[in-house]
C-alpha cells in the first residue's frame, strides 16, 4: 500500500534517498547528460560521497574492490551510451567472481528509447549476459522498488552485480516516495541451510576417509565463513587447499595448508587433490584452471562432497556424490556440530600415512627460485613485501605472472585481503580495485601488485588517487614483457614472442610524479627491502615502486592446457 502521506519527490531525489536507505557510503562514478539530475541531487547532500574516477571501467572496478574488501555493496553510477559500454568490462569482472555490486546507468528519455537517440545504448541488452539481474525503470513509481530489489538480489544467494537503467525523464518525474521495507519475490528464494540428511552423509564420509582433502574457494570468502572452515579443518586434521579466489579462507601460514591448487598451484596441493579418496569442496566451482582436464581428474575414483549455494555450480564439470545446496557458513556450522556430536574420529593411522605422502610431495619445494641472482627475481619482491607488511596488507593485483607470484608467495592468513580478478582475468583491475579497497578500509595498508602492461590499462586512475589522497603502495614487477603471454609463447609457441614485448614504456617514476605521487626505481636485489621500507614509511603518500625484474622468469609449477593437474611442469624440468 502506498502511504498517502508520503512526500512527493523527483526520481533523482528518490534515487539518492534510496542510497541513504541502503546506507551507501560511496558512489564511484562519472557524470554525463543522462544522469545530470542525479548528479544535481548528489551535489545537494553530503551523506553519500561521490568518488570521481577517470574512466567508467575504473568506477566499476573501484565499486567491486570496495565490495570485496568489505562485504558492503559497491555502487557505481555512469551515464548512458559510452558510460555504460566503458563500464561493461568492470561489470563482467564482478560477475565472473560473484561480487555483489549495484550499477546505476543513465538512459535516454523513455520516449526516445529505440530511436537511435544521442548516446543511446541498450544497457539492459548489452549487460544481460554479465549481470546477475538487470532492470529498466520505465516509470518513476517503479524506481524505489527497483533499487530495493537490486540491492537485495546483489547481496543474497550467489552474489553478483545488478544493473538498474534509469531514463532521464524518470529522474525528472515525481511521485510519492516510500522505501519498501520488505520485498516479496515469488521467483527468487536463495538457499540458506543445507539438507540435514546430506550433511549427515558428508560427516560420515569425512570420518571414513583415509586420504581426505579439503578444497575451498571464493564461496568461503563471500559468505564470511573463514572461521568455520578453519575450525573444521583443524578439528579433522585434514590438509586444505584454496583456489585463487579462496585464498585467505584458511590461514596460509598454518601447517595444514598446502598452498593454492590448479594451473599454477603447488605440487603438493595438486597431487593431494588428484590422489585423495574423499574430497570436500567448499564454495568452489571446479574451474578449468583448477582441475585441469576433467577426464584425467575423473580417472581416480574419489568421493566428492560439494557445498555450494548455486545448484548450477554442482555437477557442472565434475559429478559429485554428496551435493549440499546451501550457504557455506550455515552448512559448515551444522557439519561442525554433527562432527562434534559424533563419537567417531578420523582414522589417525591412515591420516598419518597420508600426511607422510604429502610431506614427500612438499619436499619438492616447488616454489623455490634463484636466491643469488644479480637481477631482481619477482618472487623475492613478493616475499620481502610479505615481510615488510607483516602479512597484514590488503593486496590487489592485475593479471599475469605477478598475480600468480602473489597468490603463491604472499601468505594470506585472513579473508578479504587478496583482491584479484580470477574468472575474467581483467588487466587494469588492480589500481581501481585498490582505490575501492582503500575507501572501504581507510586505516589499512593497501598494496597493488601490478605488471607494467596491466598497469597501463587503468593508469588514468592515478589522478583519482591524487584527488582523494589515497596512500596506495604500488609494486610494479616490471619485466618489460606481457610476462604471462611470453611464458606461453616460450613453452607452446617455439619462443616466438609475437607482440608480447613492451616497447616504448614510459618512465614510470616521472609519470607518477607528474600526477603528484612518489616514484621509485629499484634495480638491485639488495635494494628491494630498503625500498619497500622507505615506501611503506610514507604513510600519507602514494608510492609507485618500479622493480626492474628478470625478464626470463616463469611461473612454476604449471599445468599445461588439457593436461591433468598432477601433470605439472616444474622449474627443474626445463
Amino acid at each position: 500500500m502506498r502511504n498517502p502521506g508520503a512526500e512527493s519527490l523527483t526520481g533523482a531525489e528518490i534515487l539518492v534517498r534510496c542510497l541513504h536507505e541502503e546506507n551507501v557510503e560511496y558512489v564511484f562514478g562519472y557524470p554525463g547528460g543522462a544522469v545530470l539530475y542525479i548528479y544535481d541531487e548528489l551535489f545537494k547532500q553530503d551523506k553519500v560521497k561521490h568518488v570521481l574516477v577517470r574512466h567508467e571501467q575504473g568506477a566499476a572496478h573501484a565499486a567491486d574492490g570496495y565490495s570485496r574488501a568489505s562485504n558492503k555493496i559497491g555502487v557505481c553510477l555512469v551515464t548512458s551510451g559510452p558510460g555504460v559500454t566503458n563500464a561493461v568490462t568492470g561489470i563482467a569482472t564482478a560477475y565472473m567472481d560473484s561480487i555483489p555490486m549495484v550499477v546505476i546507468t543513465g538512459q535516454v528519455p523513455t520516449h526516445a528509447i529505440g530511436l537511435d537517440a544521442f548516446q543511446e545504448v541498450d544497457a539492459v541488452g548489452i549487460t544481460r549476459p554479465c549481470v546477475k539481474h538487470n532492470i529498466l525503470v520505465k516509470d518513476v513509481r517503479d524506481l524505489a522498488p527497483s533499487i530495493k530489489k537490486a540491492f537485495h538480489i546483489a547481496r543474497t544467494g550467489r552474489p553478483g552485480p545488478v544493473l538498474v537503467d534509469v531514463p532521464k525523464d524518470v529522474t525528472a518525474a515525481s511521485c510519492a516516495f516510500e522505501y519498501p521495507e520488505t520485498l516479496r519475490l515469488r521467483s527468487y528464494n536463495p538457499a540458506g541451510k543445507g539438507h540435514p540428511g546430506q550433511i549427515k552423509k558428508a560427516a560420515q564420509m569425512l570420518l571414513g576417509a583415509k586420504c581426505p582433502m579439503v578444497y575451498s574457494g571464493g564461496g568461503v570468502i563471500l559468505s564470511d565463513a573463514a572461521p568455520q572452515l578453519t575450525r573444521l579443518v583443524r578439528m579433522l586434521g585434514f590438509p586444505c587447499t584454496n583456489t585463487l579466489m579462496g585464498l585467505g579462507g584458511y590461514p596460509a601460514t598454518d601447517p595444514q595448508f598446502l598452498g593454492m591448487l590448479g594451473m599454477h598451484g603447488t605440487y603438493e596441493a595438486n597431487m593431494a587433490m588428484q590422489h585423495c579418496d574423499v574430497l570436500l569442496a567448499v564454495g568452489a566451482r571446479f574451474d578449468d584452471r583448477v582441475i585441469g582436464n576433467p577426464a584425467h581428474f575423473g580417472e581416480v575414483p574419489r568421493k566428492i562432497i560439494h557445498i555450494d549455494i548455486d545448484p548450477s555450480s554442482i555437477s557442472k564439470r565434475v559429478r559429485v556424490d554428496v551435493p549440499i545446496v546451501g550457504d557455506v557458513r550455515e552448512v559448515l556450522d551444522d557439519l561442525i556440530k554433527m562432527l562434534e556430536a559424533s563419537r567417531d574420529k578420523p582414522d589417525p593411522k591412515a591420516l598419518k600415512a597420508w600426511w607422510e605422502r604429502i610431506g614427500q610431495w612438499r619436499s619438492k619445494d616447488c616454489l623455490r627460485y634463484d636466491h643469488v641472482s644479480k637481477i631482481i627475481k619477482p618472487q623475492a619482491v613478493v616475499e620481502r613485501l610479505w615481510e615488510v607488511t607483516k602479512g597484514d596488507a590488503i593486496v590487489t593485483s592485475d593479471v599475469g605472472q605477478h598475480q600468480m607470484w602473489v597468490a603463491q608467495l604472499y601468505k594470506f592468513d585472513k579473508p578479504r585481503r587478496w583482491i584479484n580478478s580470477g574468472g575474467l582475468g581483467t588487466m587494469g583491475f588492480g589500481l581501481p580495485a585498490a582505490m575501492g579497497a582503500q575507501f572501504a578500509n581507510p586505516g589499512s595498508t593497501v598494496v597493488c601488485v601490478t605488471g607494467e602492461a596491466s598497469f597501463q590499462m587503468c593508469i588514468q586512475e592515478l589522478s583519482t588517487c591524487r584527488q582523494y589522497h589515497l596512500p596506495l603502495k604500488i609494486v610494479c614487477l616490471n619485466n618489460r614483457y606481457m610476462g604471462m603471454v611470453r611464458q606461453w609463447q616460450e613453452f607452446f609457441h617455439g619462443n616466438r614472442y609475437s607482440e608480447s614485448y613492451l616497447d616504448a614504456l614510459p618512465d614510470f617514476v616521472k609519470l607518477v610524479e607528474s600526477y603528484g605521487h612518489v616514484g621509485m626505481r629499484i634495480e638491485k636485489p639488495a635494494d628491494i627491502e630498503p625500498a619497500l621500507k622507505e615506501a611503506f614509511s610514507r604513510k600519507d603518500q602514494l608510492v609507485f615502486m618500479d622493480f626492474i625484474t628478470d625478464q626470463t622468469e616463469n611461473v612454476f609449477p604449471m599445468v599445461p592446457g588439457g593436461k591433468g593437474i598432477s601433470e605439472m611442469i616444474l622449474a627443474e624440468e626445463l
Binding site: 539492459v124 541488452g125 544481460r128 546477475k132 538480489i153 521467483s187 527468487y188 545448484p311 548450477s312 555437477s315
Partner: protein, 163 residues
C-alpha cells in the same frame, strides 16, 4: 535425447530474451519455443523443446531456475505427458488432387479453414511427428506455405505446474 521443458515465468518485458539469451550464450539447442500469458496475466508459460545429454539437461534446468524472473521449471519428459503442436498449411488443391487433399486432411483429422478455387488452408494439431507425417503424406510441390507453433505440453494425471 529430446526434452520438453515447461517454464512458469513473470510476464515482464525482457524475460523472454533472458531465456533465449541463456540458450544461445551457453550453446544449448532450441528446437522450438512457445510462450503466452497464463490465466493469471502476471505469469507466462513457456514450453521449450530441446535436446542434450542428461548432464546438459540438468544444467539447462538449473540455469533456467537461476534467472530471477523464472518461477518454476519442469522437464515434462520425465513423466507421462501430452504434447501438441498446431500447424496451418496452405496447399495447392486443383483438379483431381483437390479431392485427394481433402481425403488426406480427413485422415489426419485436419480442418479446412479456408478455401479458394485452387487452394485449401488446413489446420492440424498433434505431436510434431504427426504434423511431419502429414507433410510427408502429401505431394511436396503442393505445399504453398506452412506455419507451426512449436510444441506446448502438459503433464498427464494429477501432476500440475503452478505456483
Amino acid at each position: 535425447m529430446r526434452h520438453i521443458i515447461s517454464i512458469l515465468l513473470e510476464n515482464e518485458s525482457g524475460a523472454l530474451s533472458r531465456v533465449s539469451g541463456l540458450f544461445s550464450a551457453r550453446g544449448y539447442n532450441i528446437e522450438s519455443l512457445t510462450v503466452a500469458p497464463t490465466e493469471d496475466p502476471s505469469m507466462s508459460r513457456m514450453t521449450i523443446v530441446t535436446s542434450g545429454s542428461d548432464d546438459v539437461i540438468e544444467q539447462i534446468t538449473k540455469q533456467l531456475n537461476k534467472l530471477i524472473e523464472v518461477v518454476k521449471v519442469v522437464d515434462l519428459s520425465e513423466a507421462a505427458h501430452i504434447e501438441r503442436e498446431l500447424m496451418l498449411i496452405k496447399v495447392r488443391a486443383t483438379g483431381k488432387d483437390r479431392e485427394e487433399m481433402k481425403r488426406v486432411a480427413d485422415i489426419f483429422r485436419g480442418r479446412i479453414l479456408d478455401v479458394t478455387e485452387g487452394t485449401y488452408t488446413i489446420e492440424l494439431t498433434g505431436t510434431g511427428s504427426k504434423l511431419d507425417a502429414f507433410i510427408k503424406a502429401i505431394e511436396a510441390s503442393a505445399i504453398l506455405e506452412t506455419v507451426r507453433t512449436g510444441a506446448c505440453g502438459i503433464s498427464r494425471g494429477e501432476r500440475i505446474l503452478r505456483v
